[in-house]
Amino acid sequence: MISSLPTRRDEEWRYAPAEVLAGLKALPEAQQIAVEAGATHPVYKCVSTGAASKVDIQRYQIDIAEGARCEAFFLLTGGGYKRLDIDVTLAEGAHFELGAVGIGRGEEVTEIVTRLRHVAPNATSNQVMRGLAMDHATLTMIGRIDVAKDAQKTDAALGAKGLLLDRTATINAKPELEIYADDVKCAHGCAIGQLDEMALFYAQQRGLPMAEARNLLMQAFVAEAYDAIGDTQWRDHMTGYAESALRGTF
């Protein structure tokens, strides 16, 4: 764990605003989640700082025991600097599922940073990150996956996609893999793009005004992060929150 305060020389903090780092007195305590063997632990969380001047760093330390699952879904939106920092250790046969959406507008800075430690064999993980940035917002998605020497048959997937809605917005996406085992699957993908113009036009030709067509495509983009939510009520909640965040009415 980080004992001293982070600086921009730390890879995971290199995109954080200097003034936020300068103002840090201490990192907030990480929330500890220990998932017992065979159990399933869901996490649903919306992070919004409210005021533009505020800083909200949410840290999680998650330990998933043998054969257990942790399914964590987040929405980060609104306000000033928001950071979701998740450190996960997976025991044998464990599974970690992440769906994280960041929506930034104005001058907001949003960061989604994960570190997965596959330390034992047969563990699986799937991370879906979706970032959407408007105006002058900055959004960063960093996913690091460590696969230890003994963690054979690890199956890890990380997909980070960003949608830039204005020329002035910034999205950083970075998968980092460190693999020491030789029989593993680690799929990672990063893509940053714009709304598909042809799809927008197609929707308009069928009758949707531009603003609604854009909204429909943005909703579809973020909804991918919540596809894996098994509890339909929670899936509806999370997609609903994301929709209101997109409309700026969260």
Partner: protein, 277 residues
Amino acid sequence: MLQINNLHATVGDKPILKGLTLSLNAGRSMRLWGPMARGNRRWAMCFPGRPGYEVTEGSVTFTPPPRHPVLDTGLGSSSGARDESQASHQVRGDVDLLSLDPHERAAAGLFLGFQYPVEIPGVSNVQFLREALNAQRKHRGEPPLSGGEFLKLARTQADAMGMDMEMLKRPVNVGFSGGEKKRNEMVQMGIIDPALAILDETDSGLDIDALRVVGDGINRIMRAPHKAVLLITHYQRLLDYVKPDFVHVLDGGRITRTGGPELALELEREGYKELAA
């Protein structure tokens, strides 16, 4: 219903239409035929208003039938689309099509069948079409269809085109074969029920069976006294199913020849070159 006058259009700085003049009356189906790759490609995109397709000269006047009045009653503009307030087209009768936004053209009754229907991951056909149809209805001052009403309509149209309802629940065109996409275009046309359909090479990439299904779809949905169809194609084969009242040959951005259905057969026999000579 549609009056195109001396239409000039460009994509980038490339001219694609150089003085197209054409009129299409309700109850008619018309067919435009042109050699491939001679500047004819995708000019149909001028009519729905695709960005990048710039009309530099001429006019397009659309006269929707009474079933599709283009009027914004001002009702229902309290919520939803922000740009709805600009749509104060208190128009009855003739509409200057080129002055409208793409979605307003759709609400006025114009449907464009895409040669390459677009895939929209994450948005189901049902959601997409319901939102699109209700946006059109709202624009026309009609009440929205409820979920149940819409599903009934969608099921009827899907059945008529031999499309499984399950496919309508899947994301728009994602993973659909070429034939399925075209079939889906027809299902959409059936649900939206436009006054004027411009079908841009709807017959490309279809096998004989799909061609018949699509042809039947066009006849079933669009053969009505108050509707009209403009088919754009390079081939005769779709015309075995959809009989045109008029055939025009478009070459070099303007119409070079006009005739009845026999012209299509002549073209198929002789080729364009002979006719152009």
